[in-house]
Assembly symmetry: C2
Homo-oligomer: 119 residues x 2
């Protein structure tokens, strides 16, 4: 079946969440949002492109930082309302310069930092 | 630092997305939503508990199907607006009886099914 980005289910802002996962390690790197055009651009360019809710603009991951995400595979879930981008991440995915945005664990009721910023 | 679920950033419906990942394989299983009470219940019971948007009720994963998610670790992202639950999933995470909800790949412009329902 041919894929059409307009057949995904978007929220009231026209956005769909997209989880980025590193292809070889399985690490969950980040979650951000796409609109239908960002989905199409990601598939066309193989460079993962989100929609920045704060800037209200396309966000080609790594365009300024060099920390790009090369698309290996794009997957959709059963409800067609969430995406999983399997990627090759260069450097840090997080704006804090950590590999993953999910660097804080809730352990025994406390917030514990699991990783430090990269050099 | 002590963790307080009310310090997370919730959307206009009071919900935060939560990604479930299998702890040993790294497989991304599903994404669903929690409210602050579901976050607290998940931490307290170690059984991953979502908020069902369709039923407007707590959804203790696997309560009816037996396909439970035991919480191994709960992580928050840099913006405190997305959670990652590292879990031990019994059986299928997806309501279609597939291991993961992300069973459809967009490959060369077509939707390709990557996994079949479990027996």
């Amino acid at each position: 079946m041919s894929f059409d980005p307009s057949t995904l289910t978007y929220d009231y802002n026209g956005l769909i969440p997209c989880i980025a996962q590193q292809d070889d390690t399985g690490e969950v790197l980040m979650m951000a949002w796409m609109n239908a055009d960002a989905v199409a651009m990601t598939l066309q360019t193989k460079r993962v492109t989100y929609w920045s809710r704060s800037r209200q603009a396309f966000w080609i991951k790594g365009e300024t930082s060099g920390h790009t995400q090369e698309l290996i595979d794009l997957r959709l879930d059963c409800d067609r309302d969430c995406l999983l981008a399997v990627v090759r991440q260069i450097g840090a995915a997080c704006h804090t310069n950590r590999r993953s945005c999910f660097y804080t664990s809730v352990t025994s009721g406390n917030e514990v930092e699991l990783m430090t910023p990269q050099d």
